[in-house]
Assembly symmetry: D2
Homo-oligomer: 283 residues x 4
């Protein structure tokens, strides 16, 4: 049994849905999931579709070629088609261990549909955690002086392992435009505030100073503009005057873990589409 | 422009989606919304679809007839097809005014897609509110002795006004099996607890006694078994030992208002399907 | 039985709590509530205390005088002492009715410990609602030209009725520094966003554009700097790409009602203290 | 510097607060935290107080003796006094690893004020996790036949290590009345539902079947009656018809981790008092 997932967006037009479902039907596919969204402000049509093909000689590549020629061209679609294989995720970390523990715990228990070929860090602190989960750990220090060189090492590792997407699990370095350009909407960051409130560094300190009654965390794709990329998921929790900055940080860690894990799951299940710096998240 | 909404459920089978979208296409309809769900435990397929027809001579009745013959019969579907007209809601109340104020405020501001031909109450207390919103108010007292008679009066009003669905906005009488049978999955109740916790009367007192840290409210369709019908929406809020029973009741009122209004909106937008005492809620 | 509520803040020092409880004890008072908070960043002590006095000749004024001389002076306290009478609230509204309906509904049902001598509006639209609740409604239009004159009319009404605090229930004018100076930390506003995200006008439009997954509302005291006063309460709710701006506005209305009502209750129950633009909220 | 925490409950009476604060003052203590609660239904007074003593010859034991004689006797108080030392926690686990990983991760990062002398399990599965955190792991299988013997082994370990409290981190055995009697309100369990909904085994399956829109988790002290002990904390999260039972279980794991960790923190910070099967949770 072959299963593929199709993501499409294009200008909203008549008969798109019928055309797509007919196309699948002609290829003897059975649609097992279909969902669509129309952004009425911008007149953009989005669709997510899963289809199964029982035919022995089904080829995802041939399907893609036919889809491109007969359907995508006609409606001027942007599209992606995925077969049912686990994406490869590279983990970037620094010194904070809570998101790392959380993701590896979920990975170990089989909760995540992905592979983790390696972990990259600019510090050595978390190597023992990587070791206890038997995942290769590459220590690539980053300084002002060696920035380009460090990045090239990262890129080499990413390419050699055919990495599909990157997760910055509280990685405390700003990634370069070059890396972002190579992995557009494929680098997931966790920001420790309810964006767009408190962009930049030390958001819990800022939240404390402002006296907010709720704090949050935001997972988003990394774009050139800092903390301004498309939001994938957000979570919040109540705080009060009784909480110190340390309390906010501790409560925040719980949010960060869950919000980042949600983003990873949505991404690997191909549920996220991006358009005009916003996400469409299919259920 | 004619717009219809189609709700379908049937045994999951191959090619359902393609068959339906083809059928719409042949009728020169343009699908503007499609969403589906498969309950894998029970192997049931659910679909919600909105379609627009520009043809001058489109008739919803003719479409229904054709749908029934050519499509529904083939897949053994349960189906409903709605044209784009406001459903008629009857409001049943007793003495509590918060849900009544809330629904009428929303109605007045144009937030709700429905008409309210009248309000029925077993008490006179809320008549002045109905008056201030210019909605007819029928006082039908209910006692042990007059129960059948009172119910017949209710049924007469409901039928004379072609009521589509009933909302029990803290109506403090148990509705009869006869009424339920006439309006299956068309009577919406708000229960002041997080069902299935604290079924029956005085749930806030029970919650207080049990020392729970969160209280809730539940909107559901009324079925013969008390407080056990299909859940449409639920809401919760935190409480603590500092809250008295009166505090829980006050906090609960806010939940009840929002959870009931959500249920009314979901119902009138034809987003709810019921199967095996559970709801499928389309987005 | 006489009951008073005492709010204190001062530099944190040894023996404050014992000194205060002794003082009350000497006056033959019985402490029925005591809570305190120390802001360790700024070394400030906050306390809220309720005490009952059974003596026939108890005088709040005499108690205040003695408290000031013997206790407040010694510890250099900022303090307020309230006897158990309902504060007078002035309601300022414009065209949106949801917060008005909500507050008046709560007022009518006895949920709020306050009096509402009148409602002021710069538009006539909501007069009929005020009428249906039998509350005087003053229409004071505000234009660029008559701004000072309009404000003087407002101030005259506020003073003539001995108003204790003001609630801006979606009042669409910026109040002047003069009014703010007369009612410091006594003007409560509801901002329709999760501050400090989306300050200024049209926050739901901004939230929609940014693609956030959660929207919020914030009640705060009004200060000279727009949308930057001490936060009293905040609430949030989830949204998704399926929600239009109108949906966000509708969902936001529910948040605004609850968050504003919470702030009013906290204020009238003397549970809020302000220091350095932040609130301490006692339970 | 000596710091103690005092927890008291007794019948509500006049002058309790002044008597306690005076007593501390006479002992030259400085009160750094005081909070109280009166249960008006049952007329019970609760207090939590932290005090610091600078005197060189301060002895917690002597203070306790004096407190007992001069204060507790007079007001017929139930009381506990703690000095500032880390309580010892025994972890009981079975096969699920998520709560174990979570607690040990927090423990490692210094977030928890406690010591973990050992982990007990009725299965060997999680030994490697205990090893990677360098915590002794005792495998004590439990069968119908060896139940008493197994329990005696557990009790011996608990006593030899002076264990203060026990955490059942998804321990899949029912603990005996003997153990409960030795550790009253000192055994914390995490139940994977929003109690009192779905008591007993397989709550996620029950929640799925009932079609609830929100699932929860509950941490509570273990009492003889199953799943009916005093609730310490509860958490909830939204679910929909799109979630399978496996999805509910996965979402539930995140709740369980946070709700159990919260309970452990509240317990070790001596913020929890129990009366009549309900908790008072100080802030």
């Amino acid at each position: 049994m072959n299963k593929i997932t199709i993501l499409i967006h294009c200008k909203d037009q008549r008969n798109i849905i019928a055309s797509i479902t007919n196309f699948i039907s002609e290829k003897e596919g059975n649609i097992v999931y279909i969902d669509q969204h129309v952004d009425r402000e911008q007149n953009i049509f989005f669709m997510r579709l899963e289809s199964e093909f029982e035919t022995d000689n089904f080829s995802t590549e041939a399907f893609k070629e036919s889809f491109k020629t007969h359907l995508a061209a006609k409606f001027n679609m942007k599209w992606r088609i995925y077969s049912d294989i686990k994406p490869k995720m590279a983990l970037f970390v620094s010194k904070y261990d809570h998101c790392l523990y959380d993701l590896l715990g979920r990975y170990n228990s089989g909760e995540l549909f992905l592979e983790i070929p390696f972990i990259i860090s600019n510090h050595k602190d978390l190597k023992s955690i990587a070791d206890s989960f038997n995942i290769p750990f590459y220590h690539i220090p980053v300084t002002k002086e060696n920035k380009t060189e460090a990045e090239n090492k990262q890129l080499e590792l990413l390419e050699n392992h055919n990495i599909d997407f990157i997760v910055l699990a509280r990685y405390m370095q700003i990634v370069s435009g070059k890396l972002i350009a190579k992995y557009p909407n494929k680098i997931i960051n966790i920001h420790h505030s309810f964006l767009p409130a408190f962009v930049g560094a030390k958001p819990y300190h800022s939240a404390y100073k402002r006296g907010v009654k709720i704090i949050g965390a935001t997972s988003h794709y990394v774009t050139e503009e800092l903390d301004a990329g498309p939001i994938i998921d957000q979570g919040v929790t109540r705080v009060s005057h009784t909480h110190s900055i340390e309390d906010l940080i501790a409560k925040g860690r719980d949010l960060e873990k869950i919000v980042l894990a949600n983003a990873v799951k949505l991404h690997t299940n191909r549920k996220v589409m991006v358009y005009n710096n916003k996400t469409v998240i299919f259920s």
